[in-house]
Symmetry: C2
Subunit: 243 residues, 2 copies
């Protein structure tokens, strides 16, 4: 895990790939098989996925879900991003995003935003963001590294967040071992490993929210091959026991 | 992430720390700040947490939950390990273990077990297992590395497993950033990072179920300090929205 510090605060329209390429060069460059992990917030900011709360008119439902301690404008942005509210306990909202991710606040987050009345949304299509960054980094560095766009998600039943993959390009998100043989000669059943999520979590270990390091390289991992896209990480509704 | 291959198939009573120490020496030894991640299955086997299904008498409930495709003896072992069945869709059972972990089959698993009619249970006290391994590795190597006992857990809403920490010694399981200031000068709210889970996932990237590598070193991570124990990763029931 190689952190990529020194990337400046980003604004809509900034060239994230160019900033990453500079940071990558400073870290000694890319190698074949590398994964470049980029925090969702950096991607969202350059894509203009930022809302000023002063522009938001909360509905009655937003006031209700915000409770006495929440900001109804912030809740309204969450509702606008959510396909469905999965659970609520004011001011906490767990929602399904338009991408199918189930997470706190539909991914809408105020920390590491520009100002106190600004919130950052998830990218509209994080897989497309990852593919674009991969193409641009490939052109800039000559190495077609995989790219993972990551975010910190809470989990059911476990305390604390881990970083997971919202967008994946250049590697399969899941290593599918179904039908393979284990070391004891037995067929492994139902063994699908969310490698892209583990890569995102590994990168987080050297990134760090409070340190302002929005990207890292993960090197030395046998990446699963196959079609890319974090969409493969979304549990289909008919197999989901927890909604 | 440094894999530790060459650890032989383990049996009850084997000296896991001694085997790890040999593999660690082969990999160049430990450095201060390292985490040694050990697969739960290796720990469970040396601790004798293995059940022969021929010895199991399934109850009527086990037959019912097994459905037409499951093995009621296997289900009975799961029920014996479970504090509560959280969801069931035969033959799938999501259960809370005696430790408070919510996972498939209460952690009872047949893959990488000794034979076709053998299942492996979680350690009785994975934090104690981690502490013991840490003490023994410290004595054997002269370096008091942190130890994480890991297992592959599925997640609500997301496909695929990621490795998480069942036992933690020598580091805090969670990095608590609540009240810290982000790079933009804003207070980070509700920011607790499950570092031990991310370390377990990072190690999994070089371990691999099908390759029979049950341990790895994770190096170069700023480990959170504070009381250890994976128990801190269990969401308290009164804050759990998903049961």
């Amino acid at each position: 895990m190689i952190p990529l510090p020194g990337i400046p605060e980003l604004e809509e329209g900034d060239d994230l790939a160019a900033e990453l390429a500079v940071a990558i060069a400073r870290a000694g460059g890319l190698e074949p098989g590398d994964v470049v992990v980029v925090a969702q917030k950096a991607v969202s900011k350059v894509e203009g996925r930022v809302v000023e709360l002063v522009d938001v008119e909360p509905t009655a439902r937003a006031f209700e879900l915000a409770g006495p301690d929440g900001d109804p404008r912030h809740v309204q942005v969450i509702l606008d991003e959510a396909r469905e509210v999965v659970r609520s306990r004011p001011p906490l909202l767990i929602a399904e995003t338009r991408h199918g991710f189930v997470c706190a606040s539909a991914g809408v987050d105020a920390s590491n935003a520009r100002g106190p009345d600004t919130v950052v949304l998830l990218p509209l299509d994080p897989d497309a963001s990852a593919r674009r960054l991969r193409d641009e980094l490939s052109a800039a560095t000559g190495i077609a590294a995989a790219v993972v766009v990551s975010d910190s998600f809470g989990r059911a039943w476990r305390q604390g967040t881990t970083d997971v993959a919202l967008g994946v390009a250049g590697m399969a998100a899941i290593l599918d071992l179904r039908g393979e043989i284990d070391a004891a000669g037995r067929v492994l059943h139902s063994t699908q490993i969310a490698v892209a999520d583990e890569v995102a979590g590994a990168a987080e270990l050297v990134m760090g929210k409070a340190r302002g390091i929005p990207a890292a390289i993960v090197r030395g991992v046998d990446l699963p091959v196959g079609g890319d896209g974090a969409a493969a990480l979304v549990m289909p509704r008919d197999r989901d026991l927890f909604r």
